[in-house]
């Protein structure tokens, strides 16, 4: 199960944070700080997995942005690594060539996309097209 998803830039600024388990505010800040510290200095050759307390963080870097997923210790690391990538592909599709600025200014839309992709800590839909179609229906409302 996914515990949380974080998007952070290299300075550790949170661009998006979604928690699937209830955490206190202070705990969230601590988590964000710790995760950033863990992933930002890792050699690019190293594994994209880091143990984090009693779970593990799967992260992937795109330009200046780190996408981190905290999952159970028994989960399939590679699958979640690709799950991040699928998410980025969806974002890329939705924003047509996504850049960090898109995410900064449209973070609320990113949350909406995420809600179509992952729900209650599990992958809900893995078809890019299904998600994009749903989003375009929502977009029509704007």
């Amino acid at each position: 199960m996914i515990r949380f998803i974080l998007l952070q830039n290299r300075q550790g600024k949170t661009r998006l944070a979604k928690y699937y388990v209830p955490l206190e505010e202070s705990e969230k800040h601590k988590v964000e700080y710790e995760v950033h510290r863990m992933v930002v200095n890792r050699d690019s050759k190293f594994t994209n997995f880091v143990e984090f307390r009693t779970h593990k963080v799967i992260y992937r870097r795109y330009a200046g942005l780190f996408f981190s997923l905290c999952v159970d210790i028994t989960d399939n690391e590679l699958a979640y690594l690709e799950c991040i990538h699928l998410f980025v592909e969806i974002l890329d599709h939705f924003f047509s060539n996504v850049c960090e600025l898109d995410l900064v200014f449209n973070f609320h839309k990113v949350y909406l996309i995420l809600d179509e992709f992952i729900l209650a800590g599990e992958l809900q839909e893995t078809s890019k097209r299904a998600i994009i179609e749903r989003m375009s229906e929502l977009e029509k409302l704007d």
Binding site: F49, E82, L101, D115, A120
Partner: protein, 937 residues
């Protein structure tokens, strides 16, 4: 000129900014981006909070404005500030009729509120209403919120409606309803236990998305109760088969694998169902074999599926053919240059090793490379593997390595884990008592405060009871060596408390036992301990008890006791201690000193810690009294269990029942992972303790006495499983090599060099011919780690066939890779944008470069100039794409994702976007260079 026009148009849009937000909001985001320090950022956010507080109170806020305020609240919260003053407005917004606002409201509350927040109660009603809505988008929004906000208490309020929605016409609704039920099941299994048939039905849903989502709850259900789902094995297998045969819509393909995420989920379920079930496993053979053939091992996702197959095979009862396929996949992983794949390979190895123990042998060098890798994640995984493959022949090397690593790290969580593993391995496989005590000393010294108290009790017990059942001589030798080592360590500064407790206890029991050390020497040391750790009451308590024992032994043996002056002053100090525990101990000690030899002997007999003390747990001596009371009209006692009407309380503690089937509140954050090794649930059951060997310790009022008693039952239980391995056989094998079975030929583990010599001689010659650069140090390590089995293997070979060298090389070549090949472009490594090829030009990067040069040059800050410079690049290539690196790396598979095909169009879009950003003031002019720095590093 085109750009100028764009900018003009954007300017004309006025306050309504390009991204659908007002200028105010964009300014906020921009100024946050520009903030040079955390303090500055905080200042901006605080003033924004003030603004919002004011604005939210204004009457008649237009809806669009209101929506934006809420989004601004979300932004504030995301930056780590408290926006709770606005929560109520978000809640109100969920009541709005407009879907746009409703959705924003739901989004905000799911981000703001935890499921136990007071405001939830105001939303439940709205959710109920929205679930009935005709607009399926409203229903979806409500279901999204349910997945985050509904807790055990509110489940019943929405459950019937959610169940109804399982048959909704829109697949999106069915999917979300399934996920909501899945979430209910996690929160409170009993709430949905009657709905299991619904999940089964949804498995056959026409929409693959719904089917895929249904696998989530089914996985949980199956893992709780495998036997009820055996009938689904063939269904799952046939779904998996259909998926692999590309029967699902193409849109589920990911990097040319058909619905890989669904495949992985299915494999996880199959692993559960096939575990220990031959006939179920057999149904899976075919499809698993197909998967191994079909999976594209050049992509990550293909490897993810392969890895899941390996996991599945390690759970089910596999066929030899599948095992072989799994082993092949693992060796591919291990030979890869990608750390990720190596990691997966090591993990897979750890899983398969329990089925085919030989499998690690051919990868020994790869394993050692991983062990010495600077990447901690990989290293730890490798330690996990070593832990699984430890046997008496390699325990010393492995535990030494583990301890070295343990000393080198600061992460307490992992330190605890590795320390407990060291202890476990040492208990199981220790070749000698001295070694065991040495290892325990090291563990305690470096991770003492992290070690479970049980471990300390265990160690004390082992020293007290000895290892050989009848060999008193060996026992006393062991005790002596323990005492000696402790006397050496005791003067070191800052020992962990737990370790000092062990030391004190052992010195008290056995310090003077064989007469090597005088009572005054030992008591002096104990007083030093009590003195040096005067703030630690537990240690002091242990020290005083130890003093008492020493003096008791002296008195009992008729020697005259001279109480050291420092000891006398210690007693006096403790007589006035604030701690009643210490006070009592001091009084007891003082009283004891005045008793005669016979009395003392009966109070504290020598070496009585192993004596069995009968504990009458049923309190049968009270029976007469109870009988009398009942006869005179008292109510018979009803146990708490019967009173509360819950008869299966013991079940709650079994590991798989992580939920209490009642509607009690439950606020758990992270579930604790199941302990990897030690079965702890035993401790919760009230098993009569056959040998409460710490009774003497426990009855002295240590604050944790009840705990330690329970602990001792635990120790007892645990050791039973370990005993054979620990006890005689391995102990003997180290002392009398003649009796060892041939397989443990280098069970001459006390001289690892012999093992190295014999086992690595032949392999080494073959290495040298093929791969001269292998570090001999590594080979030694390999031999000592894998030596046991490899030597036995080569023995087997030499007896079967004559030409050893050929066989030796045939066995080894896979891992020989003479020239370290330049790693192929790592698919995962999107690390440095600069490392990618020219096609992936990042205009922001360029702008940054330009910006730099312009700031150096001083003058030329002409925005348009910059722009036209950048333009030629952007028209031909992808622009500011996070995925640009991706497109580079996936060149081999053209058309993998569609945005690639529409690049031409995108470049124009990107231009516009760029212009837009610029227009909003987010441009690399001298005004705000830090935003750019911030965004692109």
């Amino acid at each position: 000129m085109e750009q100028l026009k764009t900018i003009g148009r954007e300017l004309a849009m006025g306050s309504q900014g390009g991204f659908g937000q007002s200028k105010e909001f964009l300014d906020l985001v921009k100024s946050i981006g520009e903030a040079r320090s955390k303090a500055e950022e905080d200042r901006i956010v605080l003033s924004e909070i003030d603004t919002l507080k004011r604005k939210l109170l204004e009457p008649d806020i237009p809806k669009r404005k209101m929506k934006e305020y809420i989004i601004r609240l979300v932004y504030i919260e995301m930056l780590g500030h408290d926006a709770s003053f606005g929560y109520i407005h978000a809640v109100k917004m969920t009541h709005d009729d407009s879907l746009l606002l409703k959705r924003t409201g739901y989004l905000a509350v799911t981000l703001f509120l935890n499921e136990d927040h007071d405001l939830i109660i105001l939303i439940v009603n709205t959710i109920q209403k929205d679930l009935r809505s005709d607009n399926y988008l409203v229903v979806c929004a409500a279901l999204n919120a349910i997945c985050r906000l509904i807790n055990e208490e509110t489940i019943p309020a929405v459950l019937p409606q959610v169940v109804e929605l399982l048959n909704h016409g829109k697949e999106a609704v069915r999917k979300k309803a399934i996920m909501a039920l899945h979430r209910f099941h996690r929160k409170s299994p009993s709430s949905v236990s009657h709905l299991i048939s619904n999940f089964r039905k949804r498995l056959c849903d026409n929409d693959p998305g719904v089917m895929g989502a249904t696998l989530c709850p089914l996985f949980d259900l199956v893992s709780e109760d495998v036997s009820s789902y055996k009938d689904l094995v063939s269904s799952f297998v046939s779904i998996l088969k259909q998926v692999t045969e590309r029967k699902l819509p193409k849109s589920y393909d990911y990097h040319q694998m058909p619905a890989p995420f669904i495949q992985i989920k299915l494999l996880k379920i199959l692993a559960l169902l096939g575990s220990g079930d031959k006939s179920a496993s057999e149904i899976m053979y075919m499809v698993l074999g197909d998967l191994f053939r079909k999976c594209d091992s050049s992509t990550n996702i293909g490897n993810a599926i392969l890895y899941e197959c390996i996991r599945c095979i390690s759970c089910i009862i596999p066929s030899p053919k599948l095992l072989e396929a799994a082993a092949d996949a693992i060796s591919k992983f291990l030979k890869s240059d990608s750390h990720n794949l190596k990691y997966m390979g090591i993990d897979g190895l750890g899983r398969l090793i329990k089925i085919s123990p030989d499998i690690a042998e051919q990868h020994q060098l790869a394993v050692i490379d991983c062990l010495e890798d600077p990447d901690d994640t990989l290293k730890r995984k490798t330690f996990e593997l070593l832990y699984k493959m430890t046997k008496s022949s390699n325990v010393e090397v492995i535990v030494d390595r583990m301890i070295d690593y343990m000393i080198s790290i600061n992460d307490n969580h992992y330190k605890t884990e590795i320390a407990s593993r060291c202890v476990e391995l040492a208990e199981q496989f220790a070749p000698s008592n001295q070694w065991f005590i040495q290892i325990m000393n090291k563990v305690f010294e470096h991770a003492g405060d992290l070690v479970n108290v049980k471990v300390a009790h265990n160690l004390m017990r082992l020293i007290a009871e000895g290892f050989g059942e009848e060999d008193d001589d060996a026992d006393s030798k062991l005790r002596l060596s323990a005492v000696e080592s402790y006397l050496q360590i005791i003067s070191e500064p800052k020992l962990p408390s737990l370790f000092l407790q062990v030391i004190s206890w052992v010195l008290g029991e056995y310090g003077t036992a064989d007469g090597k050390y005088s009572a005054s020497y030992i008591t002096g040391k104990l007083c030093d301990v009590a003195d040096a750790y005067s703030s630690d009451e537990t240690v002091k308590g242990y020290a005083v008890s130890a003093l008492m024992k020493i003096y008791a032994f002296e008195i009992a043996s008729g020697r005259k006791v001279d109480v050291l002056p420092e000891c006398q002053s210690l007693i006096e100090e403790l007589l006035a201690s604030h701690s009643t525990d210490l006070q009592q101990r001091a009084y007891e000690l003082q009283a004891l000193l005045s008793l005669d030899a016979r009395a003392v002997e009966s109070i504290l007999p020598l070496d009585a810690s192993c004596e069995d003390i009968e504990v009458d747990k049923d309190l049968s001596f009270l029976n007469g009294y109870i009988q009398q009371a009942i006869e005179s009209g008292a109510q018979p006692y009803i146990s708490e269990r019967e009173r509360s009407g819950m008869l299966e309380t013991t079940d709650y503690h079994s590991q798989d029942h992580h939920e209490v089937p009642s509607h009690a509140l439950r606020f758990e954050a992270y579930e604790r992972p199941k302990p990897a090794s030690v079965p702890t649930q035993a401790s919760t059951e009230l098993v009569p303790v056959p040998e409460p060997s710490y009774y003497r310790e426990a009855h002295q009022p240590i604050s944790t006495s009840s705990v330690s008693e329970r602990e001792s039952s635990d120790i007892k239980l645990r050791l039973d499983g370990v005993k054979q391995k620990w006890g005689r056989p391995s102990y003997q094998s180290s002392t009398s090599a003649s009796s060892t079975p041939p397989q443990a030929a280098n069970g001459t583990s006390s001289h690892p060099d012999v093992g190295v010599g014999s086992s690595s001689l032949k392999p080494r010659s073959s290495y040298e011919s093929k791969k001269p650069e292998i570090d001999p140090e590594k080979q030694r390590l390999a031999a000592s780690l894998f030596g046991g089995s490899s030597s036995s293997r080569s023995d087997r070979k030499s007896s079967s066939g004559g030409h050893k060298p050929a066989k030796g090389t045939a066995n080894k070549p896979p891992k020989e890779n003479p020239i370290p090949v330049q790693p192929p472009p790592d698919l995962l490594d999107f690390g440095e944008p600069t490392a990618t090829s020219v096609t992936a030009t990042d205009p922001f990067k360029e702008l940054e470069g330009l910006m730099d040069s312009s700031s150096q040059d001083g003058g030329s800050t002409d925005v348009m100039g910059l722009y036209s410079d950048a333009a030629p690049v952007t028209t031909t290539t992808s622009v500011d794409s996070l995925l640009s690196e991706l497109s580079d790396s996936s060149k081999g598979n053209p058309g993998i994702y569609q945005s690639q095909t529409s690049k031409g169009l995108n470049s124009k879009e990107a231009l516009e976007k760029d212009a837009l950003v610029r227009q909003m003031g987010v441009n690399p002019t001298s005004q705000n260079p830090t935003l750019f720095k911030d965004l692109l590093g």
